[in-house]
């Protein structure tokens, strides 16, 4: 990294953190610390909601995903705009009416304490673990590609976030997230322009799209009704709708963002802004990946983007086979490149027959090249059992470091750091507010002063932050746990959403019925997870539907006195 890149990286991060701290200065009460004093306008809400969702992995992995699988991941977001409308109509007015600090507070006023604390506990469990992953996931990629120390990278990301989140609370989080999100969007636009400019002069943007389309990278829509296909139009619309409802409507890390709005109106406008901008933003990130793919049709790509693992594998007896594979891959690249140039000439001549014939040859060359990459991954996995051969996460950063000019590299690293910090800050602030409001103030210290709860919230923010950094630092020892954490969110979201939807829509249903229904629904979701290969997006629909149906049945069948006791 050049000095200019360091200046851009450190200067921008320092400016953002300083700005956040300056905006959050002054005496803080609980409403100020946990809800930002209800000063935020719709653009702050919209950008901070987007920044909370966009983690570093969004910017590191999504382009790589487009490089390998094309644009189809975009379907994951199709349900989001509809969920923003539903939340604006159903959830927001209720939260603002009760002036809650956390989403779970609402559940006590509607059901009972046990439902509130059960749901809050589920949130703390999955969000507490995933905060560590939010730090660890980018740190492992940054340390591998840039040669930085993994622990130091975790400490740097975590330390800075803990400092400004503890100091400024929800207000510092929203204000920094707003700046961070603007930088992330600007950074990706710059990346897109620079990548397109790096294509050979004879390759126009239209031609680049044609090459990408020929190789299947622009197939965004999948109409398959197979439930085990992960991203389809239907799973995106329906499963994505329920997931977005659950995430934005019941996950405190998101709810806290829009509870900081001046009014319901600002809050609604912020969510609708998110609904309008999210798909174009994700499309841009995926398009960056597609353009990186086109770039590597004219410039030799490494056979495996995780160069550190490849280098380790070359120290084993499989080195000879890997060298042969690299040679074959280089030859396959030369062949494919000549076929692509032929396609380019056919496109210039507007000759449909030549274009069709050329397209077929390009596709065949790509299949041969992909087979060599697959064989290399297999060989590395045999050489180093347990090695990470899934290199999609490394594609974008490798491209950036090797090909982009000085200054732009620093800017894109800022994007990645901003994304990591904004996501972690939102999580820490939400974890602290849930711990204080739903457990500490509700069950442990009921009548302390406002200042006491602010101090407690600061300590809990720091505590959750230290736990997240520790988890991130030692995460490499816990690979299976990381997978479990990723699945955990999808396992619980449907059930939690079901509890909230019953609360909003079925007045006669009481706490005991909904609690038993939630536990039973959770068992069904876990059963589906363990016993079938249904795509995880459907878990949200299944969990939610089970809670709503079972609560209805239980309310009708449970003895009346048990329900009254629970209600009291």
């Amino acid at each position: 990294m050049s000095t200019l890149d360091w200046v851009v990286l450190l200067g921008t991060l320092a400016a953002i953190v300083g700005y956040g701290a300056w905006r959050a200065r002054g005496k803080q009460d609980m409403a100020g610390y946990l809800r930002g004093g209800n000063q935020d306008k719709w653009h702050t809400i919209g950008l901070s909601v987007m920044a909370t969702q966009a983690s570093a992995v969004t910017f590191l992995s999504t382009p790589g995903q487009a490089y390998q699988d094309g644009m189809r991941f975009i379907q994951f977001y199709f349900g989001l705009p509809l969920a923003m409308i539903a939340l604006s109509v159903v959830f927001l007015p209720r939260y603002f009416q009760l002036r809650v600090f956390t989403a779970y507070e609402f559940l006590e006023s509607r059901f009972d304490l046990k439902t509130r604390q059960l749901t809050a506990f589920l949130f703390l469990l999955q969000r507490g673990l995933s905060a560590g992953i939010t730090i660890y996931a980018p740190a492992i990629i940054l340390s591998s590609v840039l040669g930085w120390s993994l622990r130091l990278t975790c400490l740097c990301i975590g330390g800075v976030v803990i400092a400004y989140t503890v100091f400024g609370g929800a207000k510092a989080v929203s204000q920094t997230q707003k700046q961070q999100m603007l930088i992330m969007l600007g950074g990706m636009v710059v990346a897109f322009i620079v990548i397109v400019k790096h294509l050979p002069p004879a390759v126009s943007f239209g031609k680049a799209l044609h090459i990408a389309g020929t190789l299947g990278k622009l197939d965004a829509l999948d109409f398959s009704t197979n439930p085990s296909t992960r991203y389809t139009l239907w799973s995106g619309l329906l499963g994505g709708f329920f997931l977005a409802m659950a995430y934005f409507g019941t996950d405190q890390s998101q709810v806290q963002r829009y509870l900081g709005a001046r009014s319901v109106t600002e809050s609604r406008l912020g969510l609708l802004f998110n609904g309008l901008v999210k798909i174009p933003m994700q499309s841009l990130i995926l398009f960056v990946g597609v353009m990186v793919f086109v770039f590597y049709q004219f410039n030799a790509p490494p056979i495996l983007f995780n160069q550190a693992e490849l280098a380790r594998a070359k120290q084993t007896p499989r080195a000879g086979k890997l060298a042969a594979l690299e040679q074959a891959h280089a030859a396959a690249f030369e062949h494919k490149q000549s076929e692509i140039w032929q396609l380019s000439r056919a496109l210039d001549q507007h000759d449909p027959a030549a274009i069709a014939a050329s397209e077929q040859r390009v596709r065949a060359a790509e299949v041969a090249s992909a087979a060599l990459r697959a064989e290399t991954k297999l060989t590395v996995a045999q050489a180093l059992p347990g090695a990470n051969t899934r290199d999609a996460d490394y594609i974008f950063l490798t491209f950036v470091m090797r090909n982009l000019p000085r200054g732009v590299v620093g800017l894109l690293l800022v994007v990645i750091f901003c994304a990591a910090m904004s996501a972690v800050a939102g999580e820490l602030s939400a974890l602290a507010s849930t711990t204080v409001v739903d457990f500490y103030r509700r069950s442990l210290r009921k009548d302390a002063s406002d200042a006491h709860y602010v101090r407690a919230a600061k300590w809990f923010t720091a505590g959750w932050g230290v736990l997240a950094v520790l988890f991130a630092t030692f995460a490499s020892l816990l690979d299976n746990l990381i997978q479990a954490v990723n699945i955990l969110g999808s396992l619980f979201y449907g059930t939690i959403l079901g509890i909230f939807l019953v609360a909003f829509s079925r007045r006669p249903i009481r706490g005991t019925a909904v609690c038993i229904a939630a536990i039973a629904a959770e068992a069904v979701v876990v059963g589906v997870f363990l016993g079938t290969n249904v795509s995880f997006l459907w878990y949200n629909v299944i969990g939610c539907a089970c809670v709503m149906l079972l609560a209805e049945v239980l309310q009708a069948t449970l003895p009346r006195n048990r329900q009254r006791t629970a209600a009291a």
């Binding site: 603002f96 002036r99 600002e266």
Partner: protein
Amino acid sequence: MPDEAPNPAPFLSWPRLYLIVAGALVLEIAGFAVLHWIYR
């Protein structure tokens, strides 16, 4: 915390805003279908 502040864009009622967001989604999906159809 005021329960409801005036809509900063009063010419747009809430139903119209919801329709714009849903309409944008339909256009985006149609856009991806067209992109796929042109560059298949």
